[in-house]
């Protein structure tokens, strides 16, 4: 029953285990960054003493770091566990297309919600003054 024309690529155990441990390590990293790294008062002076001498507020980096780690994990799962690296290109295109449309969708929604935020705030203010004259 050998199919000479068509063989599926079989992942090696070492690759699967390495992927798993990388995923666990990234999970621990993201929890550690969130729990133990004081981003709002980050001691930059320890790392760059010649440039800075006071701690710096880096809390804006929180979401980028979190999402970068999550995306690295997602790529590991998609490329190795879901076998995209040896799969038909079209399947990867489908996934990337879905993600692109998701980004487009969320981006549009965010733009739109910013657009109407003043009206929403006005409405809430009116309602609150009506409740507490």
């Amino acid at each position: 029953m050998s199919h000479d024309a068509h063989t599926h690529h079989i992942s090696s155990p070492a690759l699967l285990w390495a992927t798993f441990f990388a995923l666990v390590a990234l999970t621990i990293l993201t929890v550690a960054v969130a729990s133990y790294v004081p981003l709002d008062n980050f001691p930059v002076q320890v790392f760059l003493p010649m440039v800075f001498d006071t701690p710096m507020n880096l809390s804006w980096l929180d979401m980028p770091i979190t999402l970068t780690i999550a995306t690295m994990k997602a790529l590991l799962v998609a490329v190795i566990f879901m076998h995209l690296q040896h799969d038909k290109l079209f399947n990867a295109v489908l996934l990337i297309g879905a993600v692109l449309f998701m980004v487009l969708f969320i981006g549009m929604v965010v733009l739109d919600s910013q657009q109407y935020e003043p009206e929403v705030l006005d409405y809430q203010y009116d309602k609150q003054t009506a409740l507490n004259p």
Binding site: L16, T19, A34, A74, L94, L95, E117, Q128
Partner: protein, 370 residues
Amino acid sequence: MADAATIDSPETEPQTADHGHGDHHDHHPALEHHFEDLDQQFDAGKLGMWLFLAQEVLFFSGLFAAYTVYRWANPEVFVDAHHHLNTTLGAINTIVLLASSLAIAWGVRAAMRGDRYTILTTHVFTLGCAAVFMGVKTIEYTHKWDEGIGAGDFYKFLEGHHLVADWMFSDYMPGLTISSLGLGVLVSLIGAAWAAAGSPVKGWVTGSIGVSILSLGLGIVIAKCIMPTPLEMEMAGGHGAHAAHDEGHAAEPAHGDAANADEAHAEAAHAAEEGPAEGEAAAEEEYTGPTAAERMSFSGPNFFGIYFIMTGVHAVHIIAGMIAILWVIAKAADGQFDADYFLPVENVGLYWHLVDLVWIYLFPLLYLIH
């Protein structure tokens, strides 16, 4: 953890037994008549699965859009509210799901090599992981319900007050845990006995259900060890969390000003985090639950609306995945897969990885807010 070894595979039939159903080389029994050959069937089926997964991504994107919009507009509410979520439990659930993903990937590998027994064990292990995940979720959800942290109108949480309700899940949790553990062991043993007695499909399916029930109980136990309720902390001579919980009963209610109340809430949450030592001084003003005016703007009830819908929809996907994996186990135990035909294993595996992918994003977005 799920112990696949609770089930002994009889391996009564040799691996090639199913090849007897007709002429294998001309016509594989799994080949549908509208496909040229198994390769075409495999590619078509897998393409369909990827289309479905793309649809799933777009389906979840609606929830992520709601999350993004509200977090963008009300970052402080998210920071406050996430103190009610236990990061350790979230991290454990992440690792459990990653382990199940590894097992499923391993199962697909086994399927490609025509290794029926490994398909079965990896899938049973995956079911066990999924059930542990659901057990931890059970504790997270019921714990919140007992504290009065629900979505929308079910949000009755007051910092420092114990909710008085006629229905407390924690009263039923010990019974549920013990019956889940006991029933799980019993059903697993029945399944193992059936499998040993020469009915592999019935045996493996029953055994898998048993392992799931048992792992649900294990998940509950794990979660309880990490996040006991304040009452249980007290009974165990507890410390810390409860003291922080109790302080500041006495502030005047109804500040009226939503911003003020928000600040007080932030303060109380902050105090709870810092523990009892500094807490007493910090929480002079106190949060007294969302007033009608506060309900006008985005606050705790809305955050937990998003939380419960996102994690709840994900949990529904986990349950659907467990049913699909059970189906794969039944087919594998029946000897329907071989190195030429394993499309269901591959597709269910892909689905399971997507469920894992969604959780990879949900965990930091909900549990790790700063």
